[in-house]
Subunit: 293 residues, 2 copies
Amino acid sequence: MSRLPEPGRARDLAAVAAAAYGAPAAVNVVPAPGTQILLPRIASLVPPGRAFVLGPTYQEHARAAAIAGHEVAEVRSFERLAEADLAVLVNPNNPDGRVVSRVQLLELAAKQRAKGGLLVVDEAFMDVGPRSESLAGDVDLGGIVVLRSFGKFFGLAGIRLGFAIAHASVAERLEEELGPWSVAVPALEYGIKALSDVAWQAEMRETLAKAAGRLDQAFARAGVVTTGGTSLFRHVDIHDAADLFRALGRQGILVRSFADRPTQLRCGVPGTEVEWRRLDVALGDWAQDRRPG
Amino acid sequence: MSRLPEPGRARDLAAVAAAAYGAPAAVNVVPAPGTQILLPRIASLVPPGRAFVLGPTYQEHARAAAIAGHEVAEVRSFERLAEADLAVLVNPNNPDGRVVSRVQLLELAAKQRAKGGLLVVDEAFMDVGPRSESLAGDVDLGGIVVLRSFGKFFGLAGIRLGFAIAHASVAERLEEELGPWSVAVPALEYGIKALSDVAWQAEMRETLAKAAGRLDQAFARAGVVTTGGTSLFRHVDIHDAADLFRALGRQGILVRSFADRPTQLRCGVPGTEVEWRRLDVALGDWAQDRRPG
């Protein structure tokens, strides 16, 4: 790690990522130190105007659009996105797992393109989603930027690696802004290795799907029906979510709550059998004392 | 590395870096995945106008200023920088090691501040430079951004870590653009460890200074007087630089040449005794056949 990352190695990573994500070619793929750092740059691809983010979702998209000078609003219907200069959605969505179909997205992209707008699809969780709905293969049409995250699916969030997939002219512009060497050597090397290993990916998808099913069952035994999510997290919407949040917290189990949506929780998948057992016990204890809504 | 970098750890790193670089406080320090990625963002801190880069120097500053929409020119005299909205210099300079004094820089910074301009001082090599000339401690005055690179001095360019040091309000703005988690876990941890280790740094400065002296002697034995540089690289300006470049290249020794300055070379310090010996032999062979200029 004593030398700068080799630009050729970043090109190798782009090629491997293009194949893994179904992008047209390596020139469409921009490796970055996480997708986060790309958000304001992508939001700046269109002049300051109206940015709509399909919510509720990951908060950083609205923040990034505001940094880029847009007037930002969270909209609750997919159809309204077409009114914006910058339309952003997370697909599958975090935290509820909602999926918008590729057909619908292509229609929206055509509208954006026609008026010089942009559609940003954050596919951070598409590795465990319905990949046939990915827009990664369609970016050559223009007016589309797709984001893919490496760390979530591969369990290496700490190395910081993510990708923008876009028309080659847009990819080039984003690369110019990042400059050479934006991705560190560990991220380049882990990225190339992991994204090439299709067998490992298939196996991991199966493992995660099974774990997600097991998590749904754990909640079901406590009388809670999970309402969506992905294989990396499950979504819960119940009247006494705050009470469940506190009960799990007392047992040292942290789930995600949402200040503006007090009935919802997002729960990650336990990593070890000890953690599974602890969750089962905590959910069981809570269910025993639960008051009806 | 399965989890996102802890924001608290980035704050720890900012505090350690502030102490190491002599910045007023942690709030003045923005850790980033290399300084490169910061350049267009810093250039965007002033509205598009006139950017002057004191040259010849590292090319990326001019490129970044152009991305930010400035009309960019390379100027050859320090005094001319005051005419620009965005004034950029590398101090000590790469490749010739030229140092501009802190007193002169503070005068320039005052002029920039008075007209709403900005002075950017890239101190990528200040770890091996005259640290009393650093502007890191003066950023609270405003109108100044100092850049520090981690990888060069600490020999870890591959992990991607650099810092912007600026007035707290500017630091906050840059941090917002980078977003949370911009620095990877390995960079955070190496950075905190290495920047805290003042004894190691002092020792390394001495080691590098000795090695630079040895490199000057190696060139001197071949009849070449080095003309500046830093302890991390030496600068050569001779009529037959192109010939020396090729002679070293034939022996597998890569030095840096400059397309627009054919008489100049930049030579890094060899890392091992085998490399020293190879350089000595190659320089000796070249000197024997050298034609007078």
